[in-house]
């Protein structure tokens, strides 16, 4: 981990990069659980919500919804409420949640306690990606330590609050990261998204008000309460970027919201691999439309990226260099969606499979000139017709690639035609 250049003032990664943070003594010596204690014993829920609102915290799971606003949607008077932690982290190129859980599971536990006490939930489920075997062991141990310390269970921190935390491993479906599909899965059914409204905040797990929150989002909470929202904002506000692909040092980087793509790649991740040129980058996982060289100075924040026709998503920056063929890159992305489509709705289930078939033909030298129009046509049929964002993520990137890298498609098709097939 020493190879990674943590920002001098890193506020989140500080917890992760310090050795021994999986142990509660170490975590407490560094000030851990002080924020949760204050929330449980000193602050009113409204005060906490005010602080979170002032921090500007937005969800880190992909949708970027303002966190405090989501908390306000939870009906105060409801007798039973849940917090569900989205630890499914399935978006390709995203590995910040895993880094947080494995580096400092107590940070997540503390964030959970803050959220649960504030909205008045007594039961918390952590829906954890099945492949996080190590993370699961560390989380289980951290929860046990916190329980022994009186921070989890009845009367936490000596207050009247009770919070139970249950870790629930998923079964390896990307769609189970979508919050309503996650709730279906948690209830024991096939992970397929639910119709919204009602939103989970009103009728979520077992039809009770439920706060679904990403792991990283929750990990910001102790920092916000600890530093105060003003200082937190001054220090960034911080975001964890998962940088992967053709860079010298792939990894998780903390950088202020609005850092440029160029700075992330060249200052933080050590630049492009020797002898290679930047070609494109997905700023928010494969679900986001890729950026090209002309966009290197775009600011990595939700608004700037929206203007650039893409999104921050889960802040997973996947960097593609000039050795990669964009047709192959897109084919790989489409295969992912084909494999991960839940199968609920027609356009995504059938469209992704069809597009993947067309790509396969093109890649195997059997492309036809009319295939590009066909791909655009299928994408058009999927646009705005899918049930959930998974299927809706396919057309924009595909259409952009057909526009920006059309020559690469055409070369492929032409090469196939002269292959003598």
């Amino acid at each position: 981990m020493a190879t990674e250049a943590a920002m001098p003032e890193s506020v989140l990664l500080r917890w992760v990069r310090t050795e021994g943070m999986a142990e509660i003594e170490q975590y407490r010596r560094a000030g851990g659980y002080d924020a949760a204690r204050r929330v449980a014993t000193e602050l009113t829920p409204d005060q906490v919500i005010e602080m979170v609102a002032a921090s500007g915290l937005r969800g880190k799971g992909g949708a970027g919804f303002p966190t405090a606003q989501k908390w306000k949607f939870i009906p105060k008077a409801a007798p039973v409420k849940y917090v569900v932690v989205n630890g499914d982290e399935g978006e390709p190129g995203t590995f910040k949640d895993r880094t947080l859980i494995e580096g400092c599971p107590h940070l997540l536990v503390e964030g959970i306690l803050i959220a649960a006490v504030t909205i008045g939930a007594r039961k918390v489920y952590i829906y954890l990606r099945r492949e996080f075997y190590r993370g699961r062991l560390l989380l289980d141990a951290a929860i046990a330590q916190a329980r022994a310390a009186g921070f989890v269970g009845e009367r936490i921190f000596g207050s009247d609050h009770a919070v139970e935390i249950v870790v629930h491993p998923g079964a390896g479906a990307y769609i189970a990261g979508e919050e309503t599909a996650l709730l279906e899965s948690l209830e024991g059914r096939r992970a397929m998204p639910r119709q919204r409204p009602p939103f989970p905040a009103v009728a979520g797990l077992y039809q009770q008000p439920t706060l679904v929150q990403n792991v990283e989002t929750l990990c910001h909470l102790p920092v916000i309460i600890g530093l105060g929202p003003e200082r937190y904002k001054e220090l960034g506000p911080p975001v964890l970027f998962s940088v992967s692909g053709a860079v010298v040092r792939p990894g998780v980087y903390e950088a202020p919201l609005g850092v440029t793509l160029r700075s992330l790649i060249f200052d933080h991740a050590g630049g492009m691999r020797p002898g290679r040129r930047f070609k494109a980058a997905f700023p928010g996982g494969v679900s986001s439309v890729f950026l090209t060289e002309a966009d290197l100075d775009v600011k990595m924040d939700p608004d700037s990226l929206r203007q650039a026709g893409t999104m921050l998503g889960s802040a997973a920056v996947i960097v593609v260099d000039d050795s990669a063929d964009m047709v192959e890159v897109m084919a790989r992305a489409v295969e992912f969606y084909r494999d991960e489509s839940c199968g609920k709705c027609t356009p995504c289930r059938e469209g992704t499979a069809w597009i993947a078939q067309v790509f396969e033909r093109i890649l195997h030298g059997r492309g036809r000139s009319e295939d590009l129009a066909l791909l655009e046509g299928i994408a058009g049929g999927m646009t705005g017709t899918c049930f959930c964002p998974l299927g809706e993520s396919v057309p924009p990137g595909l259409v952009a690639s057909l526009r920006l890298f059309r020559d690469e498609y055409e070369r492929r098709i032409a090469a196939g035609a002269t292959d003598g097939r």
Partner: protein
């Protein structure tokens, strides 16, 4: 000037027309109410919308994306287009996508001609496909059980069949497997599919993916004449269409009747018409000559019966008895009652052939004490010895719907019912120890706080050793909670037989008394119609001695049943789907029967036979309508049975699918019935050295039968469960009528020549 709309109504525009609907209505429903067609696949109006197929997309002003009409709630001032270019393009896309992998099976597909996919493709499809890849290729069809086949290539994954099992039947019979493009429907457990309602999934499948194995490739919809009639198996009286071609019923479908079966049937009804066309129907009268039943003319047979009846009358009144009624129409029952009471002059008639003398069944009239609809509005249901899915399947769907709306289910039984996971409480004990459980229910919070408590007392409770006690306990329970006690007893048209007078008249004997009387020589002639007492009487020996004690036995039958085989005269009878008339269901509702097909040979309707006999006896009768005779409703339980309790008892239970005379002649149902077996609890099995699927000998004081054992905790310790209605397991031979539970010994039988491992 427009009338002021109530606050609970909203007005929206669909395709330029103003439509006012109650708040909460979806755009799809609003459009439909105004006659605007929006194509659908996944939506089914008996289930909440899912929004999966995306076929119903519409354009709504001020909404950036197209919306699914089936999920979108209509709101005030909404402006909707179902025909805009964007909508048309989306409809074409959805159909193109659904069809890329759909096989070109239309020419041979059962659904062809009544297929929503065909219809929508015709109306809204693109007319051509840009798909040049290889279509999905699956082995076809997949057999999911004796009655159900799945063609995965045809499936458009609308999820209706899966959700039917989750939402309507509650049996989770079908589930989705794999993901995305590879998704397919399958069974969550091993094959065959486990459901009593699977026919409905065939009915609601919008394509030919789920088909009936008994109907596959047998007809095209345009060749079929549907006849509106009523299912007469269990007594719920579901409305059906009998689809007829060339004088044969090829298929049964549910006919919508919100007050009875809504839109559903159980599989007994769905697959239960095959017996009508069975090859062994009786076609001519049979008369015993030289000890053998031989074909005779109607005149010969009727003259003989009339002569015997007259001869008996000369010896004195009341020397003739009548048994049966379950398989008669109301009109037949009324004709029979009139004939025996007025023409023959006997009070000894009873349809309750399967009731034992000591239980509670003879002391109380059978059926519900409220309408099915009222029952469906209950907030607490207590099933006492009532195995609802085995006995009144479609009634369960109503209770399930009530449970989903918040009602509670309490089960008191001697068996773990398949619906137990829907129950709030399950009170189990051995068959002879159920009464205290019911008594204790008065203290149950759920039951006590119920506002509309419905207690269903079933056959297992009523006819058991503790029947009278259970009836008393259940009766006092409903009095305390101001609930309703239903007597869930009777099948077929037992309720019509009861209503139209097939009950003992003044001084008449009930069925067990008739049998005992016959054995003692009290009758010259025993007359049976609409029943097979040789298998139905729960004490087989009582029937045997009745038969030998009576000089002359006349039977109306469609088949050469065990009773018919022992008769002196057998008159070939039409079955209910061959008759016009009515039946009465368990709530007392009159339901119409329409003759779907002609009967075989010279078979006649029962009432016609009675009229012909009456004429021969000098009385001309006409029965255009059935005359109702008020049954005597009283709750006078007999004294409770006492006696020592054996350590292992045998309990006879009802099952939906049996090898009975009707179901046993229907393709599909025979396989669903499977083979006879007994259920023995693991603890008892271990003690007796019985292994699962091994053969065992069940030995009682009176008989022994060899049957396959299933070791299962569906039954309880100390009790072996066997089902009625299987050939080779004459359960009625195992025990005698007795107020005490019947003890049994179970021994493993070594396979012939085999070593025990």
């Amino acid at each position: 000037m427009a009338a002021e709309a109530p606050r609970t109504a909203v007005t929206l525009m669909i395709d330029g027309r103003g439509i006012t609907v109650p708040k909460g209505t979806t755009v799809y429903q609003a459009a439909r109410s105004a006659g605007v067609d929006i194509p659908i696949f996944c939506y089914h109006d008996r289930m909440p919308p899912l929004g999966a197929c995306r076929m119903c997309l519409v354009e709504v002003q001020k909404m950036s994306k197209l919306q699914t009409a089936c999920t979108l709630e209509a709101s005030e001032g909404m402006v909707v287009s179902t025909t805009s270019p964007a909508v048309r393009a989306a409809q074409e896309s959805m159909l193109e996508l659904l069809l890329i992998n759909h096989p070109l099976d239309c020419p041979i597909c059962d659904k062809g001609g009544e297929c929503p996919l065909q219809d929508q493709a015709f109306r809204y499809g693109p007319g051509r496909s840009r798909f040049i890849e290889a279509k999905r290729d699956h082995a076809k069809p997949l057999s999911l059980g004796p009655v159900l086949a799945l063609d995965r290539e045809r499936c458009i994954l609308c999820w209706r069949c899966v959700r039917f099992g989750e939402i309507i039947a509650g049996d989770d019979a079908l589930k989705g497997f794999e993901r995305g493009f590879a998704s397919e429907v399958g069974t969550p457990r091993a094959l065959p599919v486990e459901s009593k309602f699977i026919g409905n999934t065939i009915a609601i499948c919008p394509v030919g993916a789920l088909t009936s194995r008994t109907y596959r490739f047998r007809a095209r919809p345009w060749d079929i004449d549907p006849v509106a009639s009523t299912c007469t198996y269990c007594g719920v009286g579901c409305s059906v269409w009998l689809d007829v071609r060339g004088g044969e019923i090829l298929r049964t479908r549910a006919r919508e009747e919100p007050e009875v079966n809504d839109a559903w049937l159980c599989d007994l009804g769905f697959f239960g018409h095959g017996y009508v066309a069975a090859g062994d129907r009786l076609t001519t009268p049979l008369v015993r000559r030289e000890g053998r039943l031989q074909e005779a003319s109607w005149d010969e047979a009727l003259d003989l019966v009339a002569e015997r009846l007259r001869a008996s009358a000369e010896r004195g009144p009341g020397r003739v008895a009548f048994l049966g009624g379950r398989r008669l129409s109301n009109e037949d029952a009324s004709a029979a009652a009139g004939f025996f009471r007025d023409v023959v002059g006997t009070p000894h008639l009873d349809h309750r052939v399967d009731a034992p003398p000591d239980g509670a069944s003879l002391g109380v009239s059978w059926g519900l004490r409220s309408s099915l609809e009222d029952l469906g509005r209950g907030d607490v249901f207590v099933l006492v010895g009532c195995d609802i899915t085995e006995e009144y399947p479609v009634l369960w769907l109503r209770i399930k719907a009530a449970i989903d709306r918040g009602a509670s289910l309490v089960i008191v039984h001697a068996k773990r019912l398949e619906i137990r996971r829907h129950a709030r409480r399950e009170l189990l004990d051995r068959h002879d120890r159920l009464a205290p459980l019911v008594a204790a229910l008065a203290a149950d919070e759920t039951v006590a706080s119920g506002e509309r408590v419905h207690v269903l007392l079933g056959r297992l409770a009523m006819d058991g050793p503790d029947g009278p006690n259970l009836l008393r306990s259940a009766d006092s329970l409903v009095r305390r909670v101001n609930g309703t006690l239903h007597i869930a007893r009777g099948r077929g048209n037992d309720f019509g037989a009861q209503r139209f007078g097939l009950l003992p008249g003044e001084g008449g004997m009930a069925a067990p008394g008739i049998l005992q009387g016959a054995a003692a020589g009290a009758f010259d002639l025993l007359y049976v119609a609409g029943s097979d007492p040789a298998t139905a009487v729960t004490d087989g020996a009582a029937w045997e001695s009745a038969r030998s004690g009576v000089g002359f036995l006349v039977v109306h039958e469609a088949f050469l049943s065990e009773t018919a085989q022992a008769a002196d005269v057998v008159l070939p009878a039409l079955v209910l789907p061959e008759k016009d008339g009515t039946v009465t269901n368990l709530e007392g509702r009159t339901l119409a029967l329409r003759a779907a097909v002609k009967g075989p040979g010279q078979a006649r309707a029962d009432r016609e036979i009675f009229d012909l006999l009456a004429a021969r006896m000098g009385v001309v009768r006409g029965h255009d309508t059935a005359t109702r005779i008020e049954p005597v409703a009283r709750i006078e339980p007999a004294a409770a049975g006492a006696g020592a309790s054996p350590s292992l008892i045998v309990v006879v239970a009802d099952r939906l699918f049996t090898q009975g005379s009707m179901a046993g002649r229907c393709r599909g149902l025979i396989e669903l019935a499977g083979t006879a077996h007994c259920l023995i609890h693991p603890a008892d099995a271990a003690r007796a050295g019985v292994t699962d699927l091994g053969l065992v000998e069940m030995v009682t004081e009176h008989a022994s039968v060899v049957v396959q054992a299933r070791v299962s905790d569906v039954t309880l310790p100390g009790q072996v469960l066997v089902h009625r209605g299987y050939d080779g397991v004459p359960v009625h031979a195992l025990a005698r009528w007795s107020p005490a539970p019947a003890g049994v010994e179970v021994r493993p039988v070594a396979p012939p020549g085999g070593e025990t491992p």
